[in-house]
Amino acid sequence: MTQRSPAGWIAPPLALLLVALAPGATLALDYNFAGSVSLNYRLLVNRLSEPREQRSVMLPGFNINASVKAVVDVSPWLSATTKVCYGCHGLEAINMVAELTPHPAFNIRAGRFQPAFGDFYLRHDPTAHKTPGNPLPYDMGHMVHGREWGYGIVPVPYVDNGAEVYGTLRPTNTVSLAYAVHIVGGFKSPEQTSPNTVVQDFALRRSRFVTSTDYLVDNNRWPGIGGRLALTFARSADMSPAVPDITVGGSFMYSRYDDMDQLGYFIYGVDMYLHLWRVNLRAEVLRRQLDIDARLLDYPEGRSTGLRMMLDPVTVSKEGFYVESDFPLGNYLEGVLRIDGMRRTGPRPARANPDEAMLPPQQRTYRPPPAAALDFDDWVMRYTVGLNIIPLTGAKLKLSYEHWRFSSLPDDSYRRDQGNFHDREYMIHLALVTSF
């Protein structure tokens, strides 16, 4: 039976309590209804003659990401928000939260929401970020070889059940220090029902591909904790436009993700934002340390795959970064430039069961997970040039060209044949985004 963490139990009654205690809670003052539709199209131009290979390394063609959001301002100090999204994972609630905002320095929200982490989470909606897809450290489904990589470091939007306290301290009119501290259910992995369902990098699986129970409720007693601190200098109206707005922030998350409360993860990162004249410059660096249970690589009989010694110590590290700049080009165009990348070091799933080496292929039962195609020290880089066309208010056509580079391992035939890795990939990514 699935266990619920303290955060999972606390969130619903806390949300109700917030509603009950709020001044004027019986009278709704205002409503706001908004939404967006984003139609994406991806194509690897270097694999035009290999339609099935495209599908094996990414999700080509069309996919849609649509959302609707309703906000009810119950009083000046209390609001409730519901946001429902339809995308690759089907229909899901990515926001269902009550928010109490009594003072700029102290606010509480409880329910289902995105915990504050890094700079990108606020811009997760396709209408908000400038490129068709997320930066690599925050990727969720747009990257080439995403299955092997387990997608980003914090796939965004990362939505969880829990509560968050946040606020902003303003020592001067131009300097502010924002904080956020959250307690949520935390990332989770599927139950280890079989040693062949190796959970490697993939604590962050949030989709209902697992089971609805695993997706919607917590899987262990450990709540996830985390926080964010951001120092901002914001140019005031009487200052020269040559003075930039600058934010420097740091974030972390920590919890355990398996149903035995044994395997931990620690994610941390720093971010920077600079706005000068009409140019936005953003940069983030993230790192995730993830415990891996070496027993998962054993077989029911207790035999090792033979790679176990190689797999110690059982920690995987994944680091990522992005540097991105966007700027207007007249009234109807925007330009975007981005460099991002990730590096993964540590154990990987076994590529074969040595005990089955003597068996003919059709009799072998071991199915290596996609991550087996990675190297023990692997990296990916991407260079993006984008142009956005804004024909009218509420509509945007995003065009981008992405040059992908993967670590070159010419002697690794498994990676080439089973993983279908090329050293370079070239992607065209389009997105038609509308907001209402």
């Binding site: 606020l122 902003t168 924002a178 009234n331």
Partner: protein, 99 residues
């Protein structure tokens, strides 16, 4: 890549920001507030969102206040008021045009 970046940045410095709405007929102080709104709010989202939001007259103060509380939003209390005044003014203008 570097050359392309430099070229695009040069072009960016020549032209103005996208005018989501035409404020040329607005009083100078409202045009100034529009510039502030564009500067501050474009950090996290496109300007379409607040422009199209169905916030009732009198509701913008609370809305801007709440948005500004996102960690790292970087909008001072004084700027919140200025932005809310502009959005309130614009919402009234839109309402008048529809009538």
């Amino acid at each position: 890549m570097v050359l392309i970046a430099i070229l695009l940045l040069q072009v960016a410095c020549i032209f103005g920001p996208p005018n989501v709405i035409d404020v040329s007929g607005y009083p100078p102080e409202m045009q100034r507030r529009y510039a502030l709104f564009a500067h501050k709010c474009s950090r996290c989202h496109s300007l379409d969102r607040p422009i199209q939001a169905r916030i009732g007259i009198g509701g913008w103060d609370d809305y801007v206040r709440r948005m500004s509380r996102h960690p790292g939003a970087g909008i001072s209390l004084a700027d919140q008021r200025e932005i809310a005044i502009f959005l309130e003014y614009h919402a009234k203008k839109e309402l008048e045009q529809k009538r």
